[in-house]
């Protein structure tokens, strides 16, 4: 693991002069998440956990994790004494740990001095190399030295620092960059007074932005303890009803009923555990929504599950096509090369049996797996790419009607560069045009289409009408 990734842990005390602080610190940590108690609550069986941890456990199996007796979340009560102890311990920890480490160093230094004479720096090096862990953690304590007196955990430190975060279903006003429900932005734009009117105000819901500033300011003052939300009877609710409830609660309301249920349960856990917190560290709804978004990314609807994402209904095909564009390009180029090779041999036959039909040239060209495009240069190589001219020539030999129709098509295709050109050499010009129109088409839509319109390996719907008689290839 990264050496910069250091976490305070109760084992930090083991190599110090105060190893007894290890169990003390362990006792101040939640047994579920192994962190310091965060908003500790006590259960009806008298066990203490972080509010969010025990709420999640109860959601999972309704039992106390320690003693396995039944538990319910409405019987949890904040454990204020533990909260206070944990807070004070965390404040004192960096300094105490530093002292305890220094104490240990002194001890071992004394020990060393008996054996040999060393100056101070040598002792430190010696000590450090022996206790690699203590060395590692000492560097941290040195880093913390300046802030040794400050609490370790700075509550709400990210409040206001995350202006870019826009919760699900919210959008930012382009003028005053306040976030609000997406559907309200247009109405808001009519009355928006510009960026100055509400600068600095951390408004996060439409209801508040409609209030005068004086009223908004009241939000900043310590509010009375919010009331806990109660569970819904999910079995009784239909999908639409649940969606409505989620919208009322101001949380994302997309996804299946099961997902919405899980999201609502998690929202209750997050929200209610915030109710168990001390006034001074109580988070605002925006932060809670961010926590819910985190849950969404890791365990909710946006979780990167191992199951194939492509098979999901809400799979973002366009995004996937974009991010894998180079792969697709590569595959298409390779498929075209393959398609082109046999046609060289079959070219003569194809020209005879391939009977072009007027007005249908453009259609097969649209389908990405169209074998016709086998002769096209891949889009990234540009039209200057050399390619065997006879491929395009042959099918049109002895077939003036086809040539005429293609010419008409090409004229339509809006290529001013070619419009005024006189066709001195019909055949070669034709091939150039054919190529350039194809190329421009694949330039406009280089790869987006293949993944969505037609499955990669499915046969195109109209392969047989291809002017080049690609049946021979297939």
């Amino acid at each position: 693991m990264d050496s910069s990734f250091e976490l305070p842990d109760s084992t930090d005390w083991i190599p110090t002069s105060l190893p007894a602080f290890g169990p003390l610190e362990a006792a101040l940590r939640c047994e579920v998440c192994k962190e310091f108690y965060n908003n500790p609550v006590i259960t009806s069986c008298n066990h203490t956990f972080c509010s969010i941890c025990i709420r999640r456990c109860i959601t999972a199996d309704g039992k106390c994790p320690s003693c396995k007796t039944g538990c319910s979340s409405d019987r949890l009560a904040p454990n204020i004494a533990v909260r206070e102890v944990v807070m004070r311990f965390q404040e004192a920890r960096p300094k105490a740990l530093k002292l305890a480490r220094a104490g240990k160093e002194e001890e071992s230094a004394k020990h060393d001095r008996k054996k040999r004479k060393l100056d101070d720096t040598d002792i430190e090096e010696d000590d450090a190399s022996r206790h690699t862990r203590s060395q590692q953690t000492r560097s941290r304590s040195q880093r913390n030295r300046g802030a040794a007196d400050a609490p370790v955990e700075v509550a709400d430190s990210d409040d206001g620092g995350d202006e870019d975060f826009v919760p699900e279903g919210m959008a930012k006003c382009p003028i005053c960059s306040r976030s609000m429900k997406a559907e309200l932005v247009y109405n808001h734009l009519d009355v928006c007074t510009g960026p100055d009117a509400s600068q600095g105000r951390n408004t996060r819901s439409k209801a508040k932005s409609a209030f005068p500033i004086a009223l908004q300011r009241r939000q900043r003052e310590p509010s009375p303890p919010p009331t806990r939300l109660s569970q819904l009877n999910y079995a009784m609710l239909k999908e639409g009803g649940l969606r409505k409830k989620l919208q009322e609660a101001g949380i994302p309301s997309w996804g299946s009923k099961d997902l919405m249920k899980r999201r609502h349960v998690e929202w209750l856990n997050i929200y209610n555990s915030n109710c168990d917190s001390d006034d001074s560290v109580r988070k605002n709804k925006r932060q809670l929504l961010r926590e819910l978004d985190e849950w969404e990314q890791t365990q909710g609807g946006k979780a990167d599950t191992k199951e194939s994402k492509i098979m999901k209904k809400d799979f973002d095909g366009e995004g996937y096509a974009k991010s894998h564009k180079t792969d697709f390009d590569d595959l298409i180029a390779r498929a075209r090369q393959k398609g082109a090779t046999p046609r060289v041999a079959d070219g003569e036959d194809a020209s005879k049996q391939g009977k072009p039909l007027d007005g249908q040239h453009s259609d097969p060209r649209d389908t990405p797996t169209n074998p016709d495009s086998g002769t096209d240069p891949p889009p990234n190589q540009g039209p200057s790419n050399t390619h065997p001219p006879h491929n395009t020539h042959n099918p049109y030999e002895n077939n003036e009607s086809a040539l005429a129709s293609i010419r008409a098509k090409v004229q339509e295709a809006n290529h001013p560069a070619f419009k005024g050109t006189t066709l001195s050499s019909e055949r070669s010009m034709e091939s150039v045009r054919q190529r350039s129109s194809d190329t421009s088409e694949s330039m406009q839509n280089p790869c987006g289409a293949p993944s969505r319109k037609v499955p990669m390996f499915a046969l195109p719907e109209e392969p047989l009408r291809d002017v080049e008689g690609s049946t021979a290839v297939q």
Partner: protein, 139 residues
């Protein structure tokens, strides 16, 4: 977190929060497990610790699968602690290792579970999806 592990338990690999490898030995002189080290593979889901990790023995050249009436020869362990019903979020990697150590220590039968061969051959499920029946309270 696990710098000071109980005797007989060694952390092998913990690069991420998905898979950890641990080695365990049986400390006392149980003749069945004498001189052998067993490798445990922990697989964590994003729901850990609310949800139990998936714990199996891994067979390598130097690490056999221990003989035990509740350990299948493909490494799958039948232990209520690791099942949905028996798991508790207060458990951690260390406590699971200790439990397995003691489960091995107390065992006197050098045998596989009944139906081991069939199970090993036909099982395609992941351990967490298998519904074990826990009948033996001696372990």
């Amino acid at each position: 977190m696990h710098d000071k592990l109980p005797p007989g338990i060694t952390l092998i690999k913990a690069d991420d929060f998905q898979t950890w490898l641990m080695d365990i030995r049986v400390i006392d002189s149980n003749p069945i497990y004498q001189g052998e080290t067993y490798r445990l593979k922990f697989t964590f889901s994003p729901q850990y610790p609310i949800e139990a990790p998936e714990v199996t023995f891994q067979k390598t050249e130097t690490h056999p699968i221990p003989w035990h009436p509740h350990i299948y020869s493909n490494g799958i362990i039948c232990l209520d602690l690791l099942d949905r019903s028996g798991w508790s979020p207060v458990h951690n990697v260390e406590s699971v290792c200790v439990s397995l150590q003691s489960m091995l220590t107390s065992n006197t039968k050098k045998e596989r579970p009944a139906g081991d061969e069939n199970f090993v051959r036909y099982n395609t499920q992941r351990p967490r999806d298998i519904s074990f029946v826990f009948h033996d309270n001696q372990v």
